[in-house]
């Protein structure tokens, strides 16, 4: 009599190239009136899905994610093509994103990204 239990191991589906393997937590803040486009909420905590190629997500990916999943109205007032509309200032960990590579600035878990509209001021 065999003491070995027989198990049927289910086949694990190979991950598709688009399926997120993990996600990173980010703190997002909106100011200068932009919060009105995001359910009138200034701060958001999100889990940004990362790509399967293990490359760190970039600000470009974050912008697309926010526009697709968090934005509540008027997409055209936040994004223009692949980037944010002119007049919207972006800070990554309190540093001007122009110093971090703009859209290609890499993001890691726990980063704080701020989007501030410089319009409608006085």
């Amino acid at each position: 009599m065999s003491n070995t239990a027989q198990f049927t191991i289910p086949a694990i589906a190979a991950p598709s190239s688009d399926a997120p393997i993990s996600s990173i937590p980010l703190s997002i803040e909106f100011g200068g009136g932009l919060e009105l486009l995001f359910s009138n909420k200034r701060t958001h905590s999100i889990m940004l899905p990362t790509a399967s190629d293990a490359q760190p997500p970039t600000v470009k990916r974050l912008i697309t994610y926010l526009a697709d999943n968090v934005l509540s109205e008027r997409r055209e007032l936040f994004v223009e093509g692949e980037t944010v509309r002119p007049g919207i200032l972006v800070l990554v960990n309190d540093v001007d994103w122009e110093l971090e590579g703009e859209l290609e600035a890499p993001l890691k878990a726990g980063d704080e990204v701020v989007f501030i509209s410089t319009l409608h001021g006085g």
Binding site: E76, E82, P86, G87, D94, L103, I116, T118, H120, G122
Partner: protein
């Protein structure tokens, strides 16, 4: 530049612009630190150096206006005025002024320490003596003007509570206080010519919904500016000023970005004549009030970061206007703003060039022509502006009056109630009729054109085409009527003269 249309994703212009090229030396321009925080135009700064650079720049107009080595010495003025909307620019300006005029004990100790270490020489340092007793914050509340707008008076009051009441006085002004309901409305032409009466209810707002967004925006802006000056003048007249005081000084927080927008949008809307008289200049005088704009060389980006990095942070709020969150093509101002902020991102030097050029523009007319102002916006009004307009526009068939001398650009007769039977000859010294009921003699070209925009006013009933003038406009009408009365009375033969001639 793309049109912000999300459907235009195939437009090559909608692709993200390439990242800006950074200076080769990746270090702070002042302290050489590699811990950079901001790229301001083409200059790299760390956070502390950026804040210090701004503080020095913002203090410069104050030093020039109140030099410590003036002879005779400038007395302490009872008030310095600051126009504050509650937005980022004006709140940063207010903080900067308050820190300069009423420095904290810690800041003073830091300055003393810097001096002891051999910082700037004594002659270079501005002797920080008391300049003013207090700062008066003037705020124009747009409640009920902008659809869906709410009162901002108490919101700003809460933000100002951070400053000691002994140093700051809050002076909120409802926008509607600029208009008196007892005044007589000005009759404007509409495209529905009917008989009109020159007197009607003055409740007609200059913000009638039939007006195009461009007109609403620029009318709101210019009336707000004028109301600010009017309020400051009224307050200054109620205060006793020591002998030898400079004119009452009003600080405005217009940024480089906003100046560029005002310059281009103003020219596009026919404000070229008044451009050199102020508004886009770092310093100008109007109605006896000296106006300083210390942030004219600072971009909105820099101001936003300053407000965020200040300690404590500078809070502000968004003030909705007629085109807030509207399409970028909804008005001339929005289109211009879209252009300027796009330029500022990719070609930042161009925006500062536009604003600096605006500062260099000189008023083209003679000095006395500065006194001929628009009854609505109080900007200098060209005396022949509307004659020129009538000579280039046609709204009805030409008159067959034999007395009308033909001119090379014979104007068609517009169907206005108070239009003279023949167009005046375009003499350079000719001035328009000083008729207090003729909008052409009261308004500048930009206000007149905006308020009588044919595209928007088509089908507007005549009564709705009337507009109430602000209190300063009514004052001008009153002066014009008195002047006309005086002229008429001079021509009348008195009873005694009649008897002598008999």
């Amino acid at each position: 530049m793309s049109c912000s249309n999300p459907a235009a994703s195939d437009d090559p212009g909608s692709a993200a612009p390439p990242p800006r090229r950074l200076p080769k030396a990746r270090q702070c321009i002042r302290c050489r630190s590699p811990s950079l925080s901001i790229l301001a135009r083409h200059t790299l700064y760390c956070k502390p150096c950026f804040q210090r650079a701004f503080a020095a720049k913002a203090l410069k107009p104050l030093k020039q206006a109140f030099p410590s080595d003036a002879r005779p010495p400038i007395p302490i003025v009872p008030a310095l005025y600051v126009g504050v909307s509650g937005g980022q620019s004006s709140m940063v300006l207010l903080r900067s002024l308050m820190d300069s005029l009423f420095p904290s004990k810690e800041a003073e100790a830091e300055e003393r320490e810097k001096g002891a270490k051999g910082g700037k020489s004594r002659g270079e340092r501005w002797e920080k003596k008391k300049v003013a007793e207090r700062v008066v914050v003037v705020h124009v509340d747009w409640e009920d003007i902008v659809p869906g707008g709410q009162s901002t008076t108490e919101t700003l009051r809460a933000l100002l509570s951070a400053y000691p009441s002994s140093q700051l006085t809050y002076l909120p002004v409802p926008f509607r206080s600029a208009f008196s309901t007892s005044a007589t409305a000005l009759s404007l032409p509409s495209l529905t010519p009917t008989t009109t009466s020159s007197s009607s209810s003055a409740s007609a707002s200059p913000f009638h919904p039939s007006l195009p967004p461009s007109t609403l925006e620029h009318t709101l802006h210019h009336l707000t500016q004028t109301l600010l000056h009017h309020t400051v003048r009224t307050h200054a007249e109620s205060v006793e000023w020591p002998e030898g005081s400079p004119p009452p000084t009003l600080f405005l927080g217009t940024s480089s970005t906003r100046t560029a927008v005002l310059t281009l949008a103003g020219v596009a809307q026919g404000r070229g004549w008044s451009l050199g008289a102020g508004e886009v200049k770092s310093e100008y005088e109007r109605d006896g009030i000296r106006t300083l704009q210390p942030l004219l060389t600072t971009s909105l980006k820099e101001l936003v970061l300053l407000s965020r990095w200040s300690s404590p942070p500078i809070h502000s709020f968004t003030i909705p206007t007629f085109s807030t969150f509207a399409s970028p093509k909804s008005s001339i101002e929005r289109l211009t703003e879209e252009l300027i902020v796009s330029l500022e991102r990719n070609f930042p030097s161009t925006v500062s060039t536009v604003s600096r050029t605006g500062n260099k523009i000189a008023f083209r007319g003679a000095p006395e022509e500065l006194q001929r102002t628009c009854a609505m916006c109080r900007s200098p009004a060209h005396p022949l502006a509307n004659h020129w307009k009538s000579s280039i526009s046609i709204s009805s068939p030409p008159s067959s009056s034999p007395s009308a001398p033909p001119t090379p650009a014979a104007p068609a007769m517009n169907h206005y109630p108070s239009l003279p039977s023949s167009a005046p000859s375009p003499s350079p010294t000719h001035t328009q009729s000083e008729d207090p009921d003729d909008p052409r003699s009261l308004l500048c070209y930009a206000c007149y054109t905006g308020l009588t925009d044919g595209r928007a006013r088509r089908g507007v009933e005549n009564e709705e085409a009337n507009v109430g003038l602000p209190v300063w406009g009514e004052e001008r009408r009153r002066v014009m009527r008195e002047r006309m009365r005086g002229v008429v009375e001079e021509c009348l033969i008195g009873d005694e003269e009649g008897e002598e001639g008999a």
